[in-house]
Symmetry: C2
Amino acid sequence: MASARGTPQGGTGADDAPALDLADYLPYRLSVASNRTSALVSRAYQDRFDITLWEWRILAVLGNVEPKTAQELVEATAMDKVTVSRAVRGLDEKGFVARTRHKTDGRSTHIRLTEKGREIYETVAPVALTFEQILLEDMTPDEIAVLKSLLIRLQARAEALLSEGGDIR
Amino acid sequence: MASARGTPQGGTGADDAPALDLADYLPYRLSVASNRTSALVSRAYQDRFDITLWEWRILAVLGNVEPKTAQELVEATAMDKVTVSRAVRGLDEKGFVARTRHKTDGRSTHIRLTEKGREIYETVAPVALTFEQILLEDMTPDEIAVLKSLLIRLQARAEALLSEGGDIR
DNA sequence: ACAATTTAGTTGCAAATGATACTATTTTCC
DNA sequence: GGAAAATAGTATCATTTGCAACTAAATTGT
């Protein structure tokens, strides 16, 4: 009846549903926190080093282990293969990575940092770590560890649900 | 020197830099967890109710407090004004909200749920809450509370940095 | 009172993104 | 050995997004 319900939070407790408060809804909280953080990170990389966030992720992986195939980068970065393909092309055009033919699999390529790529990695990595520290400045190491581990569990759960039914029942 | 550095993690500890491991990098963890979760949520709303995630956020706010101006929705949903404008238009076209002239400010409009909008809100809200429960099934109430509160702190910190310098120094 | 500035909300356009289709190679398995 | 299926990576196209410009109304300051 289009009831003049107004704000339900004042109810006398006889309400049955737990009430939905967007501000306390985890997917929302997660999304906002992530967007704000990503905005900050993207801007830093883009402005100062002219690389996108996705390109940076590729660099970060290659900085540790080389070479990698595109497929391996997909797994390591949790980006989809189209995104990886475009990011690698971008890096290639800027001269940060080189692609060489995979010896045993003609469909695939080995991707590795060029000297220039190694240089930018060495430059950006400490900045990224410092940034993380600044972002987490007001949290204790304990809290940080908890946060990271909860995020990982959450992600695993979401992935399981995503493949499982796909739909929520 | 394009040093044949390979994987630094094996080092004998004499290394000075803390080493950047993408898998342990918070902005990355946050982004992946959020994307996975959002994918799940978006799909659920889109498939079953034909509303976008942004439209749903608007509904969720209006379900609690009506009416709201677009500007108030911007604040309540953390979406930017263009996104809100588009989402409200979508909801209007589907007949879920109505816009009426603001009495004292001619630039602005009051946005409120229609009866149909109230109905879909009442339908979706419990589904959303159930979904949250399923997603968080393997966490204790304590862990959930901690996660939410850490996310809020993180977001506040990111916002502060974002406005503050804009750039990271 | 009225010019200058600010604010609410929308629109237009360019860039980013995602789903799908496609090519080339490799693997499977009869 | 070779047809059928799978995989790596790229290209294409439609949709989404984000920025900047815009209109209209309100506020400010003189």
